[in-house]
């Protein structure tokens, strides 16, 4: 099981038969208290970099872009009633959606955990 990151602070965690997408701890801290998440539709297909979700705090909003191409296989319904999960556990219960990857090789262009932590550190 490994996790990859984009420069826009989305993460994608690879599980046995699917991948889980959400935003990083750094991104949730930047946004502040999350109040609303607009999730993609179940079954929706998209390409890498397509806008697939929106996450909003009171004074900020951020588009979430697909870290890889594929199709939505599940969405995190719990975020509708409890958007704060994104703050409490961005890489746990605060996940956005699950997807099937159309091509695993595209992960190579993303950052791994160590590279991402270095990237975040460089942002100051």
């Amino acid at each position: 099981m490994s996790t990859y990151y984009t420069k826009d602070h989305e993460y994608i965690r690879i599980e046995a038969d699917h991948a889980i997408v959400g935003i990083s701890d750094y991104a949730q801290a930047q946004l502040g208290d999350v109040v609303f998440v607009e999730l993609p539709a179940l079954g929706q297909s998209f390409g890498t970099g397509d806008q697939v979700a929106v996450v909003e705090s009171v004074k900020a909003a951020s588009e979430v872009y697909a870290p890889a191409s594929g199709q939505v296989s599940a969405i995190n319904d719990a975020l509708e009633a409890s958007p704060g999960l994104v703050n409490e556990a961005p890489q746990g219960a605060g996940w956005f959606f699950k997807m099937t990857l159309s091509d695993k090789s595209q992960l190579a262009s993303l950052m791994d955990e160590a590279a991402y932590q270095a990237f975040v550190a460089s942002l100051g």
Partner: protein, 447 residues
């Protein structure tokens, strides 16, 4: 200059503290040519008395609504506004405050906006309303864009009973955004066939009731067909007083209600400022344009109010915002809510009945006038009258007798030749029996 507190000594002292020799050193980034060329041939400052004299002269050249029997409506109505309304809206804390971005010191504005939103929702029969738009026509344009976002379709269908100015605003916005819009021909007697035009490509249908010709329209069938086709019904109300007497658009199935709220609390003001209303279903809140005020608590647990759901708005979402709107009609919405609070439900109903009764009286009196015909079968306080010959000429002739008799339809629809003999006549609580008698006399003389 009476509005400027600094003296020349102050200015010299401040320049020294800043460390520059002269004021123009602070304007050093401006190209010298532009700085040298400034505005020319304009008069210098004037005393309060001189300004009053100039403006009173201009004001004196206008025929005011209160000095003549007055029957003009078409989207702006003369009603009596209690004296306390204007007194209250001129309180410094309302008049000279900014948008309530610091809620701890703006609870006055925020609470009346919350009350305003609730009143508008109750009047329109909708679940939620925003804290006002510029006016009814721009609210209508925004509602169409909102419907496009909700349905992900881009075609609006506009009834021929919608105020032509409103239809033109929708056309302008749609044309610029590259959206499709179909405006039906003028529908004087509410007989157009909208239902057959509502297909799966239609995002929304815009229908006005009472319509611009005065007809009271049942929206139920249109709402049903819209919903069957996945489209939204936008109901337009240009005379909000009518909602005191008529079944609300919400009860008839409207998805978005837009309106002009001028009739409550606000004067005619030659067209503005007015107060636009926009109400909808709770489920559509995140696609609404404009400001929303919500309830919350403060750090001590006391009930408080705050602007909320701001991520829809331009200052956060920029080019992805639901609208570019940045103001509301704050003070006009305050006048609206005060007037409506003074009326109360029973007062509003009584006032609305009086309006309707007055219009019915005039319509009855007109049936005795040869050569004219009241075209509108059902109406609230305004109806359409067919006159012999040219409606505009009849109105001009009545004006020369000191009666402001209505609006010739040709002024709103100059290209549609079949409406040239129609005038639209409004009758509110301000019209007395004597006014109506003078109307009839002037009309007889004009034809």
């Amino acid at each position: 200059m009476r509005y400027l507190p600094l003296t020349d000594d102050d200015r010299a002292l401040m320049l020294a503290r800043i460390g520059v020799a002269k004021i123009d050193d602070l304007f050093a980034d401006i190209p010298a040519g532009a700085l040298a060329s400034g505005p020319k041939d304009l008069p210098p400052h004037r005393s309060e008395m001189e300004v009053e004299r100039i403006l009173k002269r201009m004001a004196g050249r206008n025929l005011t609504a209160s000095t003549a029997p007055f029957f003009i409506g078409c989207g702006a109505y003369k009603h009596h506004v209690p004296a306390s309304v204007d007194h209250l809206i001129q309180r410094s804390e309302f008049l000279t405050s900014y948008t309530p971005y610091q809620p701890e010191i703006a609870q006055g504005t925020l609470q009346y906006l919350f009350e305003f939103q609730t009143q508008v929702a109750l009047l329109t029969g909708m679940e939620v309303a925003n804290s006002s738009m510029y006016d009814g026509s721009t609210a209508c344009g925004e509602a169409v864009l909102m419907a496009h976002r909700l349905t992900k379709r881009r075609k609006a269908l506009v009834s021929g009973g919608v105020h032509p100015h409103y239809a033109q605003v929708v056309q302008t916005v749609s044309h610029m955004a590259g959206d499709e819009v179909e405006v039906l021909p003028a529908d004087v007697s509410a007989t157009e066939d909208l239902l057959s035009l509502i297909g799966p490509d239609v995002s929304c249908v815009v229908v006005q009731s009472p319509d611009v010709f005065g007809n009271v329209r049942d929206l139920t069938a249109i709402a049903d067909t819209c919903h069957a086709q996945g489209a939204l019904l936008i109901a337009v109300v240009t005379e909000v007083m009518a909602l005191g007497l008529l079944r609300s658009p919400g009860e008839m199935g409207a998805d978005i209600v837009v309106g002009e709220g001028q009739s409550l609390g606000n004067g005619l003001n030659f067209g503005g400022p007015y107060v636009g209303l926009l109400a909808t279903r709770q489920a559509y809140v995140r696609q609404m344009p404009g400001r929303l005020c919500g309830q919350t608590v403060d750090a001590d647990g006391r009930r408080s109010f705050v602007l909320t759901l701001s991520t829809r708005e331009q200052h956060i979402r920029r080019d992805k915002a639901t609208s570019n709107i940045c103001t509301n009609s704050g003070l006009c919405s305050l006048a609206f809510t005060i007037h409506l609070t003074l009326l109360g439900e029973n007062g509003l109903r009584r006032l609305a009945r009086t309006n309707h009764a007055n219009a019915c009286k005039l319509a009855d009196q007109l049936s005795a006038v040869p050569q004219v015909q009241v075209v509108t079968q059902s109406f609230f306080n305004e109806f359409t009258l067919r006159v012999p010959g040219n409606g505009a000429r009849v109105i001009e002739a009545m004006a020369q007798q000191g009666v402001l008799g209505g609006v010739p339809v040709s002024r709103l629809l100059p290209e549609q030749s079949h409406v040239q003999d129609l005038i639209i006549v409004a009758n509110t609580e301000v019209n007395s029996d004597d006014d109506r008698a003078r109307f009839i006399d002037a009309l007889r003389a004009a034809i």
